[in-house]
């Protein structure tokens, strides 16, 4: 009745889709630092933010992805992605502890930009489901690495290291915003 999208699951299609989806966030430094900072900030804020922020991120990112797939333009996607690293880096560097809902809104807002950037790639993927699985899992693992680093918070030197990493993340974001990086 209605034409379906081609999704023949040959080994190449599945593997190609998954690998390209997995590598897409990993090979983009702007995405990497933003996602690490989400995990870092969550760990720093403690429970329930430590798991709530990494859960909010992929869901809102998926919504942003839907906007990208639908071709609905989101103004300043690249600026939003760079700003995400700056703002989240500053939050970590200043050891900011806002109420949980504010942290979730901030993370969710930036997830929209990241999702939109990924979503525009999805229709071109060899296997869209494998691609989305790859990049959602990669995003989650980047959050996890941020959480793991954030657990150093229990040590005095670890607290300093986390705040220094926050500064580094904010500087990288600034580099992307001013086009010195990327």
């Amino acid at each position: 009745m209605l034409a379906a999208f081609a999704d023949a699951h040959s080994g190449q299609g599945l593997q190609g889709g998954f690998v390209s989806g997995f590598l897409h966030p990993v090979f983009g430094l702007d995405h990497v630092v933003a996602m690490i900072s989400v995990g870092l900030w969550g760990a720093f804020l403690g429970a329930p933010a430590i798991w709530l922020l990494p859960v909010v991120f992929p869901l809102v990112m998926a919504f942003g992805g839907v906007l990208g797939i639908a071709g609905i333009p989101l103004p300043g996607v690249e600026i939003g992605i760079a700003l995400s690293a700056i703002v989240l880096g500053i939050m970590v560097a200043l050891a900011a502890r806002p109420p949980l809902w504010i942290a979730a809104v901030v993370v969710g807002l930036f997830a929209l930009f990241h999702g939109h950037a990924h979503g525009t790639e999805l229709p071109h993927a060899a296997n869209p489901l494998a691609y989305s699985l790859g990049f959602v899992i990669a995003t989650g693992l980047l959050h996890l690495s941020g959480i793991a680093f954030g657990l150093l918070d229990r040590f005095a030197a670890g607290k300093v290291a986390i705040r220094v990493l926050g500064v580094v993340i904010a500087l990288i974001g600034l580099g992307f915003l001013t086009h010195i990086l990327g």
Partner: protein, 194 residues
């Protein structure tokens, strides 16, 4: 898009999931491998297993048997050439189950049984639609893999949800499943619409 069109799109042909059988393996072993080549089925199966596993304090026997019964029934109907592509619907079910896992929602046994039966029927009808002609050995292999995967996943979910961090891990996995399903569903529906 009105609701009637939306329902029509969901019920219409989904992703083409046919793949060539592995030569030399025979029907039964090809059937055993069949589910591993179909991501919508795997995603839905994992979501169902985790969802049932989250209810570890309740009896999951009825939903597990309900799934098996529905699977055998729908694969059996392939003998009469009854089967239709349900990959899109499977993704929708996976997405709903992902959200329920994320919310840690608790459901009575009849609701879990209904979801398991619906998932079993959808998986069976989809595989039945792929089979060019009904092959009993192929369908037996497919049913066996799907049921064993459900039992393994369910047992893993029950065992894995005892500690707090494990419980959180399952909810995070639910959010990943829901996010993937939302993305691919929207892609499918939007591409069909255009």
């Amino acid at each position: 898009m009105n609701s009637r069109t939306g329902i029509l799109i969901l019920l219409s042909a989904g992703a083409a999931c046919a793949h060539a059988p592995v030569p030399g393996l025979g029907d039964f072993y090809n059937g055993l491998l069949h589910p591993f080549f179909s991501l919508p089925h795997l995603l839905c199966l994992i979501a169902l297993a985790l969802f049932l596993g989250q209810h570890r304090e309740h009896d999951n026997g009825a939903p597990a048997f309900g799934f098996l019964f529905a699977l055998i029934l729908s694969l059996g109907l392939a003998a009469f050439s009854i089967g239709f592509p349900t990959a899109t619907l499977l993704l929708a079910v996976a997405g709903i189950l992902g959200f329920l896992i994320l919310l840690n929602a608790r459901f009575p046994v009849w609701a879990r049984l209904s979801l398991a039966v619906a998932a079993g029927l959808l998986m069976g009808f989809d595989f039945a639609s792929e089979t060019v002609r009904s092959k009993l050995a192929l369908n037996c292999g497919t049913a066996l893999t799907l049921y064993l995967c459900l039992l393994y996943g369910l047992t893993l979910g029950e065992a894995f949800g005892k500690k707090r961090w494990q419980h959180i891990g399952m909810r995070v996995a639910g959010s990943w499943i829901a996010a993937c399903a939302l993305l691919v569903l929207s892609l499918t529906l939007l591409q069909k619409k255009t």
